[in-house]
Subunit: 315 residues, 2 copies
């Protein structure tokens, strides 16, 4: 890394990314990487923006995930925030600090991961910053386009609404548990931890179907629905049966002697979507109804409080 | 820090920032902090975006700068990238990782710094992320509005254009040199290092006056004009006389036994603007003409190459 220097690294990264020219003139990018700032077309007249900071050995481990895994997941968790507003991700800005002795192939893999996840949603890396640090630091900012839809906020749930989810719950947490105990399989849960698959199309879809509130499950279902409950001034009642862990998760949980419902209710790294809809008829086909919105506060599962919250970084 | 937790810290930070409501309904913010993502009005139909990563002891030192200094400078260097496109900064997203043992007052000061610098340009903090790390990590993403102007890029300089600068050069580098040697004065140069003052109004002004290329001076004048020269396929000839260090800088340089021109030509942290204009008549009043654009390549001072470049992080 030290051999090619900061500008050499920037050149290497930008050379590995699609350019507006090589890209068939991707319409959203007016000015891409290589200038003081990027310029993006915003035909909607509103932009959605979210940012995340990811630190080596806290948010990812190089011995657990490949560089491409890290890039894909870093992009995915930001894109999940964008789709949770009902928007389509359009652009990514990436800050990267790496040790001087890091092999260049790791950065190449990371950039490939960003590009791959961008390709999943039709977004582009439009800017970034490069620096040096003892451990790897990533900052990711995603921008998105509402396409004329109203943003779906946390505070719109009303008593009587139907609570529904889309995407997997607990799989990444199971993978984390497996990796934490020194195992590398079952590969389905380990891969779920390494490369989450947020249901990208379903955020805008839910908005079109009239979702009254929506969030991505990044802190755990109970915690994230708690944010909707608090912002909306309502209680959310979940049916445990509707959230029952699938056989694969139950098998892994049994092998590790843990309750699979803990993963389903408090695991965050799958980046599923959770939303409220005005009635059952408005819940889109790929979503699963898991509960109802009531007067009150907090989140209940089968009438009881779940006694574990989402993770906090300073605990 | 560990006492209040991640969500407590987020609440504390957002409570210290102006809200759309307390703010007289600041028109640009549709959805501010507290949701999955921010939503910003973009009446221009294009957004300008730039991101930076700042690391403790590499980009700032807590014994040299107050928390408020750090916040102001972190915002300022991003806003400088936005104005260098001819845009007006509108929003900031901030990622923050801090040690669990950090005093809360430091974070309060940092947030105050972000808010103060935002107030200078009329921007708002609209989103962020909080995490824990052994040393402080800041990521800052700034967004800006072109107000109907065309972005001023690096590649537009043409032979015959006039090169002009606006803002201070070398002052922050002098302050850095003073602090590096264990001194705390003269206060003018030390403060220049701590709190740069980019000429915020002059980026859009230069765009209105027909600037053909523009950049902020973050890597040093020679290096940053080098980016314009390379992107535009031209040579830039500077007149050393026009760049002569003012008396205060010469005094400090003399005391430290260094050449003040090194600070002026290679110091980056003042975030001045450098631009090219089609002719002398189009150079705005507050700008200083310092050279001409010619056929060729590279940057010369009085006909000679300057043998020091800007700083690179991996050297």
């Amino acid at each position: 890394m030290a051999d090619i220097g900061e500008f050499g690294l920037i050149d290497r990264i930008t050379a590995a990314l699609p350019t507006p020219a090589s890209d068939g003139g991707y319409a959203h990018v007016v000015v891409g990487t290589g200038d003081d700032a990027a310029v993006l077309a915003v035909p909607d007249g509103r932009i959605v923006a979210s940012t995340d900071l990811l630190l080596e050995n806290r948010h990812f481990r190089r011995d657990w995930s490949t560089a491409t895994d890290v890039g894909r997941k870093a992009a995915a968790r930001n894109f999940a925030d964008i789709i949770a507003m009902g928007a389509v991700p359009t652009a990514l800005l990436v800050g990267l600090a790496v040790p001087g002795g890091l092999e260049l192939s790791w950065v190449d893999g990371l950039v490939a991961g960003f590009a791959e996840e961008c390709a999943q949603v039709g977004a582009r890396v439009v800017g970034g910053d490069v620096s040096a640090c003892d451990t790897i630091v990533l900052s990711v900012t995603a921008l998105g386009d509402l396409g004329g839809r109203e943003p779906v906020r946390l505070g719109g749930a009303r008593a009587g609404d139907v609570v529904a989810i889309c995407g997997r719950l607990g799989w990444a947490a199971a993978g984390f548990a497996v990796l934490s105990r020194g195992f590398r399989s079952p590969v389905q849960v380990v891969n779920a931890h390494r490369r989450p698959e947020p249901p990208y199309a379903q955020g805008p879809r839910a908005a079109e179907c009239g979702a009254t509130a929506m969030t991505d499950v990044s802190d755990g279902l109970i915690a994230d629905l708690g944010h909707i409950a608090a912002a909306s001034g309502v209680r959310i009642d979940l049916r445990g049966e509707a959230l029952a862990a699938p056989a694969k998760l139950r098998d892994v949980a049994s092998a590790l002697n843990v309750d699979p419902m803990t993963w389903v209710l408090t695991g965050g790294d799958d980046y599923a979507l959770a939303a409220t809809f005005p009635n059952f008829a408005s819940v889109p086909p790929d979503w699963t109804s898991v509960g109802l919105v009531r007067e009150g506060e907090g989140v209940r599962v089968d009438g009881r409080r779940w006694n574990e919250g989402g993770h906090e970084h300073f605990r």
